[in-house]
Symmetry: C2
Subunit: 171 residues, 2 copies
DNA sequence: TTTTATCAATACAAAAATGTATGGATTCAG
DNA sequence: CTGAATCCATACATTTTTGTATTGATAAAA
């Protein structure tokens, strides 16, 4: 499994914004300093967040970025979606089509359902976890986080509580 | 969630070898033709498989590649491991360290456990599914596949039947 | 033996992801 | 009004991933 750099740093920057929620805007330079990455990179991430309507921005002295919703209403899935390029479309069939237009295994494909199951679990977990959950876990340990995910898994083992947006045909 | 090209095509090539198991070697050109990708790319994948001791090879006319174990004893995890570069080491802390040597969140990191949970589920599922399972699923539908994964999930919801090699510290 | 089919190893090219730089526009403080 | 701090947009450079090409070795068949 692979988490991209944008995803990792994106989540971390979002957490910085969440910690600062309702305490004035956070500047890119402040976030960069706290995360140990460049101001330019933070700016790029904020640009993506703004396009996804996750944050608002304010220029000038005392300017910076502000979450548009409270941290308990922003889930990791939204962060990932904001940062995703065209790759994470979930359309495995056209993405791995080799030299053809459509994949040679378009019908009777045994591989796709596996990716689908993994992808659904992945999305299910990310849809459950809010920025607030992570901040809470930092302070009081990860038990709550594990509980949250365990519930998710029990609700529907191989297709864990999928939001309306990612109900791929599983068969 | 992201499946790399190597992983996708690697699994598909491995399935071609599995279908041909005990029926003589499969040549790169045959596999390439069946999968709709280039011979060179297949060769590259086979090179990685051989280094991982998953296959043997035979040169010359009638040559090709042969699985070293029966398809029900080769799981997707092994395929992925064979194809993995340095990226998939599971060591998120040093991989996403920004400008520092070690990540600024080295202690009290709320993000890592999430990746760890997802990664463990991912590895757990891949460790369960054999090449034979996939071929079987192609013919008789995906019910068996889902059952397999459901069992996995029930056995240990957030850390599903992890092999000894990937028991990361979760708290 | 010669030809053909194949693998082996490595180098090369192209595309994508990652990260940095630059020249502006805006806002606020003095 | 001027200057400093900040965001904005886009271009650029670097690295990694993806995919192709090349040259050589080996095995079998004709």
């Amino acid at each position: 499994m692979h988490i991209s750099s944008l995803e990792e740093y994106g989540v971390r920057c979002a957490l910085q914004l969440a910690r600062q929620y309702q305490m004035g805007p956070s500047s890119a330079s402040k976030i960069a300093q706290l995360e140990g990455i460049s101001v330019e990179y933070v700016s790029k991430i904020m640009h993506l967040f703004r396009k996804a309507q996750l944050i608002s921005s304010l220029r000038g002295t005392q300017g910076g970025f502000t979450l548009l919703s409270p941290p308990d209403q922003i889930h990791l899935k939204q962060i990932f979606d904001a940062l995703a390029g065209k790759r994470n479309s979930g359309d495995f069939c056209s993405h791995f089509a080799g030299h053809q237009e459509t994949c040679v295994h378009f019908q009777h494909c045994a591989v796709k359902p596996v990716w689908q199951i993994l992808s659904n679990y992945f999305d299910g977990v990310l849809s459950q976890i809010s920025l607030h959950d992570l901040i809470h876990a930092e302070k009081t340990g990860h038990q709550h986080l594990h509980q949250l995910i365990q519930q998710t898994a029990q609700a529907s083992p191989s297709v864990p509580r999928v939001g309306a947006e990612n109900q791929g045909a599983l068969v």
